[in-house]
């Protein structure tokens, strides 16, 4: 005789809404991703780099405080630097909007571009948990027999990829912006760096959407985890290898790699070429040093190949959507 009642019981409660069911798919996907040790470790690395950026932002903020520890330290290091430090501090104090905005813009551009490498790696590791395993185990039939549609399933999986991107990329960047400005000597830093936040959000949302769709597409290519993960990393690495070669031969080939296209979008959003030009024109002493930047680099920074990047990404996303619609079916 069983120790407890094991008979069937009816349920009388109210069903939750559609968005909660989609959220269940997302949270289940994210939990599965975070059960992978490599992805967990990568997340920790990403958040650690965020702390480093906060430290840099704190140090830069201290440059605006005349009697700060950093100024005293610079003066103690070399008395000749005292005049330079005083001049820089007074210039920064006179142009807080420009100095805070431009410096943070450049910093966050480079931080987001380089941190994205880790996120792309994490996405590659997470591909099996998106669609691949569900295809291999016929789980699509189970999803389709529940109170969710194919669209709900895909939306849930899309949000899973976006969630992972937020966890390993956009989250650390936003946290660095908030904490970095909280530790600044003045509340006005939040106001002066508002356009930087806008750039981060624009770049973050655009990139998260693009990468999530591409990741879902690659994840649906095959039922074999090695195939999907391999495809992602080969595409990524080949893109990186082809870009410098294509620059010398056929420039349009650069757009075959998604990472180059995403970088061009980042350049178009952050417009760091403008900041560099302003610094060259207005920043005392350091401006002259910045004039040594090569003309080709300035050219690349000032005019990103945005049209080619958009076309390349649209083609890749369309291919991903076609793959998803062909492969993700109950039968």
């Amino acid at each position: 005789m069983p120790l407890h009642d094991s008979s069937y019981k009816h349920w009388e409660g109210a069903h939750l809404g559609l968005w909660r069911r989609r959220l269940a798919i997302t949270s289940n996907g994210l939990n599965a991703c975070l059960e992978n040790k490599a992805i967990r470790n990568l997340s920790v690395v990403c958040w650690t780099t965020s702390l480093l950026l906060v430290g840099i932002l704190f140090a830069i903020g201290q440059l605006l405080v005349p009697d700060s520890i950093i100024i005293q330290w610079v003066e103690n290091l070399n008395p000749q630097l005292q005049a330079f430090a005083t001049m820089l501090t007074s210039w920064l104090a006179q142009n807080p909007g420009l100095s805070v905005r431009a410096v943070q813009n450049v910093l966050f551009y480079y931080y987001s571009v380089y941190l994205l490498r880790l996120t792309i790696f994490a996405l590659g590791m997470a591909l099996p948990f998106l669609i691949t395993r569900d295809l291999a185990s016929n789980a699509i039939i189970i999803y389709s027999s529940k109170a969710v549609s194919r669209g709900d399933y895909l939306l849930g999986k899309f949000a899973t990829a976006c969630g992972l991107i937020f966890l390993t990329w956009l989250g650390p960047i936003l946290a660095a912006w908030v904490v970095g400005n909280l530790l600044a000597p003045d509340w006005s830093f939040f106001w002066h760096s508002r356009t930087v936040l806008l750039h981060i959000l624009l770049h973050g949302l655009a990139t998260a959407t693009i990468l999530s769709v591409l990741a879902l597409g690659v994840s649906a290519i095959s039922q074999k985890e090695k195939t999907t993960t391999g495809t992602w990393f080969v595409w990524w690495i080949l893109g990186g290898v082809v870009t410098p070669i294509a620059l010398q031969t056929k420039p349009w080939l650069q757009h075959l790699g998604f990472n180059y296209n995403v970088d061009q979008i980042a350049l178009a959003i952050f417009r760091i070429g403008d900041d560099l030009r302003t610094a060259q024109d207005e920043l005392p002493v350091l401006g002259d040093m910045l004039r040594t930047v090569s003309a080709s680099t300035m050219q690349q920074l000032n005019s990103p190949a945005i049209t080619g990047a958009i076309v390349g990404l649209l083609v890749a996303m369309s291919a991903a959507i076609v793959i998803i619609s062909k492969k993700v079916k109950p039968e």
Binding site: S6, S7, Y8, W11, G13, R20, R133, A136, K146
Partner: protein
């Protein structure tokens, strides 16, 4: 007032290229334990999948629980359970997590989903193995788990596609008993698709026989058996020869079956002549099984007619 119909289809068609998997299916099915019979490739699974919107309908219309299948898929699936024939699970999950997740996909809040998942796993007879990864389960455990995920959200109707596939006789009996109790005890309509007549005969009250995409027979098991009256299996402890001789005197064909039962063709609508004969011989049978092969005979007859049709 008759109970509302659970399944209604009108000229339902499903074509895969030139192949007609469903060819004008008209059905009006009342709640109960329903057996969907047919040979392999008859269209049983396709009919289920069309009703669940897993396959788009080519033409015609279908209603499940009074709702239009084409337009109210999500709402319908909140109240419907399904165990597919194939092994379907989410890899890497443990059993109770999986059933909880399935409940959440039907709209149950997490706490309720978790509680019901454990209740349903108890109901299907799964013990501590519920805390193991599904990938390590035996076929029997997977079948139980499939049943648990299908009923975890308390559906009004459950579709079971070949629920006893790959099970040993004991496992088959246990699953069939659970399925039987769903309708008999808890009032959940059950549609069992199978090519195993014995399974259906044991638990179903209504029979739908499908072949070549068409419904050949839709009737209650009782009526089908009534049509095939005139034969019975008699189970005796001894004195078999005595009964055989008596039957031959009555010109009733009688044969000994491999299981030791005597099959008597008494050619009457009721069992009374046979009972009178047994009484006159002062034989006390252990059991009398009326119309023992009615379902099988009806099934074969329907298939023959279907094959003979142009």
């Amino acid at each position: 007032m008759p109970p509302p119909l659970v399944i209604e289809t009108q000229a339902l068609r499903k074509h895969f290229g030139s192949q007609h998997a469903l060819d004008g299916v008209d059905l009006r099915v009342a709640p109960g334990a329903i057996g969907l019979l047919g040979p392999n490739g008859a269209g049983k699974s396709t009919l289920m999948k069309c009703l669940l919107q897993l396959q788009p309908i080519t033409s015609g219309s279908a209603k499940l629980l009074g709702r239009e299948v084409g337009t109210e898929g999500r709402e319908i699936r909140k109240r419907v359970g399904y165990t597919p024939e194939l092994d379907c699970h989410i890899p890497g999950m443990v059993g109770c997590e999986y059933v909880t997740y399935c409940a959440q996909l039907c709209g149950l809040p997490f706490q309720t989903a978790r509680q019901r998942a454990h209740e349903m796993l108890d109901f299907v007879g799964m013990g501590q193995e519920r805390y193991r990864k599904i990938d390590t389960y035996s076929t029997g455990m997977k079948q139980r788990l499939k049943l648990a995920q299908a009923i975890v959200h308390d559906p009004e109707i459950v579709f079971l596609d070949e629920p006893t596939n790959g099970l040993d006789p004991k496992g088959q009996a246990q699953i069939l008993e659970l399925v039987h109790s769903l309708w008999k005890t808890y009032g959940i309509t059950v549609v069992v698709s199978s090519h195993l007549l014995h399974d259906v005969d044991r638990i179903c009250e209504q029979i739908i026989i499908v072949a070549r995409g068409k419904v050949l027979v839709h009737d209650s098991l009782q009526n089908l058996k009534a049509r095939k009256r005139g034969a019975a299996e008699v189970v005796l402890a001894d004195r078999h020869e005595e009964l055989r001789s008596a039957c031959s005197r009555q010109s009733w064909p009688c044969e000994m079956l491999p299981n030791g039962h005597l099959r008597v063709e008494h050619n009457a609508d009721s069992l009374n002549p046979l009972l009178e004969l047994l009484h006159s011989l002062q034989l006390a049978p252990l059991e009398i099984i009326p119309s023992p092969n009615a379902l099988e005979e009806t099934f074969l007859q329907a298939l023959d007619l279907s094959n003979a049709a142009p």
